[in-house]
């Protein structure tokens, strides 16, 4: 099926077309969500929300850009919204811990980590260091850098997804790298 046939099929609520669309973009969407969230389970959940949004609002797709670009845009927005929710929850948890409530999640994580073999633990730790550094980046820098580095999208595609200019994307990625470098060096120094 071509891209326009897929869109037409989903518009007519045909299951076969929707299934093909999901299978075609599933990996791309999960990867994008994972790159931004840093957690596979969360990425899978958000990817499902992305496809639900695609199904429900396919009529809003104006065919000005590629379907993949439109889906990327939804994936990025959904992931960013989820990050905001997580940050809000963290804030509430920090207040709870201030008032003496135990943080069960931290205990769960440390228990989970203690079960891991040493090599896995080290690579997990490196991943966490990078994810923490990525999380410190401003939102736009993080999106541009992630899409470029982990999704290997061209600057042009990133500009379309972020609805900005090519030079702005170049600048965002460069600044993201400089900041990331700073955070990582601070950590290891």
């Amino acid at each position: 099926m071509t891209e326009s046939e897929l869109v037409e099929g989903v518009l007519q609520k045909k299951e076969a077309a929707y299934k093909e669309l999901v299978l075609k973009y599933q990996k791309q969407v999960i990867n994008t969500c994972y790159s931004l969230l840093g957690n596979y389970e969360d990425a899978q959940d958000i990817a499902q929300d992305v496809f639900i949004e695609v199904y429900e609002s396919i009529d809003k797709f104006r065919k000005e850009s590629k379907l993949s670009t439109w889906i990327y845009r939804i994936a990025v927005n959904k992931s960013l919204n989820y990050i905001k929710v997580i940050n809000r929850r963290k804030w509430v948890k920090s207040i709870e811990s201030f008032f003496g409530k135990e943080n069960n999640e931290t205990q769960k994580i440390s228990a989970h980590q203690s079960d891991m073999p040493n090599n896995n633990l080290i690579s997990e730790e490196r991943k966490n260091i990078l994810q923490n550094a990525l999380n410190k980046l401003p939102e736009n820098q993080k999106i541009a850098f992630t899409l470029n580095k982990y999704e290997e999208l061209s600057y042009q595609q990133i500009a379309e997804i972020m609805q900005t200019s090519l030079s702005a994307v170049e600048s965002l990625i460069h600044r993201a790298k400089t900041n990331l470098q700073k955070y990582l060096i601070n950590y290891y120094n």
């Binding site: 299934k19 639900i52 199904y55 994810q131 460069h174 470098q181």
Partner: protein, 166 residues
């Protein structure tokens, strides 16, 4: 077309055979991503070949920076679409927002209020019934006592007999 942003201010100013520690720190990620010029790469390598601190730092930073590449490739989940379909169906059969957020809480509150008022009403009824029954039982007792005891004493002439004899 993938364009690389090569304009790294610091690296452009490097016109020496070897970088210093500060320049190494400012160029690590650009070195890892192979975005430095040939001359800068040589200057970078020349420094880390003899500076153990920078060598260790470059090693640590590059391992962390590249750690994410290794796990981005996921095996495709065969049940992804099935679960997605289920989620979509659940979403369609979900109770509407108005029912969930307004109607359900409102009916719960009204049930609670109804319960409270019923309780209060039953309580009041019991008090009024018990006060009426108490009053009637008291008057009956009084009447009984008057008839059977007090009146008997009044009618008893034994004392009068004794006093009259005196």
């Amino acid at each position: 077309m993938k364009r690389k942003f090569k304009k790294n201010l610091l690296s452009n100013n490097i016109n020496m055979k070897e970088m210093n520690c500060n320049q190494i720190e400012n160029n690590i990620l650009f070195f890892i991503d192979k975005e430095l010029s040939q001359r800068d790469i040589e200057a970078f390598n020349a420094h880390i070949n003899h500076c153990d601190h920078c060598k260790l730092l470059v090693g640590n930073v590059s391992e962390a920076y590249l750690s994410k590449n290794k796990i981005v490739e996921f095996t495709e989940d065969p049940y992804f679409f099935t679960r997605l379909k289920q989620k979509l169906e659940n979403k369609n059969t979900k109770t509407p927002y108005f029912v969930k957020r307004i109607l359900q809480p409102a009916s719960l509150v009204s049930l609670l209020l109804l319960g409270i008022f019923t309780g209060v009403f039953i309580g009041n009824q019991y008090i009024s019934i018990s006060s009426v029954t108490e009053e009637s039982s008291n008057s009956q007792l009084k009447k009984y006592a008057e008839e059977n005891y007090l009146s008997e004493m009044n009618n008893d002439n034994f004392e009068l007999l004794l006093t009259s004899n005196q």
